[in-house]
Amino acid sequence: MEPFISKIDYEVPRYKNHLKKLKNFYKIKKKTGIVDTFKIKEGNSVIDLALKVCNRNLKDLKKCDALIFVTQTPKYLLPSCSSILQGKLGLKKNILTFDINMGCSGFVHGLSVATGLIKSKISNNIALICADTYSRYFTKENKNKFIFSDAASLTFLKKRKKKGIGPFLFGSDGNNFDKIIIKDNKNNNLEFYMSGSEVYTFTLNTIPKLIKKYLNIIKNNDIDFYIFHQASKLILESLMNKLEIKNNKFITDLKYGNTTSSSIPITLKRAIEKKKIKKNHRIIICGFGVGLAWGVSSIIL
C-alpha cells in the first residue's frame, strides 16, 4: 500500500505586522511579494497555534496512530510538542508521537518520515503538523518580521493502492549553519538572524541542480505543478527562471508571507481550494532553508 496526502488544513494568526506603515513599503513588496505578515498573540505559543487547526480536525486526528510535529520554535526544550498535543487533544495513548527539528525544508522531511512509517507498516494514519512562531524571536528593530509569519499546518496521510508520494532527495550543508539562526543577542535574549543575500546565493546554487537531478531520477517530465518553499518573490522568480519552468506551472502564493515549514502545505491547500490543483495532478514540492538543508519530492493527490 502507498501513502498519500488525504487532507490539509492550516491556521495563520490574525495579528499583523503592517508593512504598509513602512516608508519603503513598495520596494519591499516589489522584492518580496509580501504585503502583511502575521504573528501570534503575546503570551501564546506554537502549541496554542497548532491546537487551533487541530481542534477543527479532531475527528480525523482521533483515527491517527502517529502524530509528527515539525517545529524549531517549541514551547519547551523538553518535552516534545507532539506529546503535549496528544494530551491536550485527548488522543489515544497507543499513538507514536515525536518532533522533528527542521525549518523551511521541514514539510518535505516530515513527509519522508511519515511515508516511511506507512510503507514499513508501523503506522496507517498519520497527522503531520508543521508549525513555527518566529515572531517570538524578533525584536522591534528586526526587519525579518516583515518576511516571516507564524503559522501551523496539519496534513493527514493515509494509504491506498496508487502511488501518492515520493521518491525523495535531500541535502545538507552544516558549514553554513549560521546563515539562518536563533541565538543570543547583545542583551542575552534569543533573536532570529538571517543573512538574506547568502541564503539567496545558496538557493540559486543548490536548488536548480537538485530539481534537475530529481527530474532525471524520476524520469517523468509530466509534471503538472511546482510548489517550492514560499521564501520570497525574488527567490521564487529566480528559481523559476533558472529552471525554465512555465509561469502557469509554478505556484507562487505569498498571501501569508514566509510561513517556513508550513509554506508548502498552505500553498498546496490554497491551490486546491482555487481548483488549480486537482486529483491525479503530479506536483513537485521542494523545501530549502535553515540548516542549511533542502529536500525535494513529488506528490499525486
Binding site: T32, S195, G196, S197, E198, T201, L204, N205, L234, S238
Partner: protein
C-alpha cells in the same frame, strides 16, 4: 563572458534605484541608505541574470561595496 565597469555601475544603480553618478569606488552600504539587505539581493539577482547563472556569486553575497564587487568580478572573469 564580459562586464564593463560602466555595465556594473548601471546594474548596481538600477538595483538600488539610485542615479548612475552615485555609483563609484567609494559607494558602499554604509554610505548609501538604499544599499540595504534588499538592495544587496537585487544586485545579486541582476548579476545572476546578466551572467545567465554561469558565475557563482556566493562571495558577492557578503560584498557590500562597488569596489569589492568590481575587483571580484575582474578576477573571476579574467580567470575564465
Amino acid at each position: 563572458m564580459k562586464i564593463s565597469e560602466q555595465d556594473l555601475k548601471k546594474i548596481i544603480s538600477k538595483s538600488l534605484n539610485v542615479k548612475l553618478n552615485k555609483i563609484n569606488d567609494e559607494s558602499n552600504s554604509n554610505k548609501m541608505e538604499e544599499w540595504d539587505s534588499l538592495g544587496q539581493l537585487s544586485i545579486i539577482s541582476s548579476l545572476d541574470k546578466k551572467f545567465k547563472g554561469k558565475i557563482n556569486l556566493s562571495k558577492v553575497a557578503s560584498m557590500y561595496s562597488y569596489k569589492e564587487i568590481k575587483i571580484f568580478l575582474k578576477k573571476k572573469l579574467a580567470m575564465k
